[in-house]
Symmetry: C2
Subunit: 127 residues, 2 copies
Amino acid sequence: MARAATTSDAFNAIAEPRRRQILLFLADREYSVNEIVDGLRVDQPSVSKHLRVLRDTGLVRMRCNGRQKLYRTNAEGIRPLYEWASEFERYWTHQLSRVKDRAEKKAASRAAASDSNSRNHSRNQEE
Amino acid sequence: MARAATTSDAFNAIAEPRRRQILLFLADREYSVNEIVDGLRVDQPSVSKHLRVLRDTGLVRMRCNGRQKLYRTNAEGIRPLYEWASEFERYWTHQLSRVKDRAEKKAASRAAASDSNSRNHSRNQEE
DNA sequence: TTGACATATGCCGATATAGGAATATGATTC
DNA sequence: GAATCATATTCCTATATCGGCATATGTCAA
């Protein structure tokens, strides 16, 4: 079995760098497809295909205006990603404080050793 | 060209649901591979392969302990994702207020029209 | 050393891409 | 209706998966 269909959820949709680029581009205001093509220097069919994926996953909204179609990022669709990542926020703050502790300890020992040129050979067990 | 290598960046790594599951599982503390296998009911080779991807993208850390290897989520690796999604935070708060406005407007018109059974034929231009 | 345990890797087949080129659909204007 | 502009879709090929299975590597214990 291959990877889950990219069209099924937001996580897969944003795995593609170009689509992330498009999402940022369309965050501020609506743009027509050709404006995206010109703005990002990507082939039109490619843009259309990416927009299709983004639309199917609810990451962009589309509005018809005469013969053009105006796309805009639907930030709500990105929220689940944000929320998923937020689950780990408390962990990385913990890790950060650990790093800070280490840095302070190092600074302390450096101060103690003054200018004895301690070459920091102590490899911690954190890989 | 196919999709970018999953091993290259965190965005691709978390596109796989099983890997997200593993990351959450390993968030609190270290687990050996077999503990993951038992905990998540996934084949051992599959777990090892997912761990390989997660390790290559810096999303988990590994530590050897005798014949077992202990894995743990490296929350720092998830931070770029969080930061990317955060870019859109202000937009979805905006959109939320817009949605709220619309809901209030609708409620108002409904109250005005009382029970005239307005079938909401006015397709808004937002698709 | 041999065997048991823990984990990783290699090979396979099926599938889902992404990009490029050509073309189809759709709307507007003359 | 014909020509034109704007966008979408289709067909193609190369590649990157994922899962399952077998097997290799690595570590400890008797």
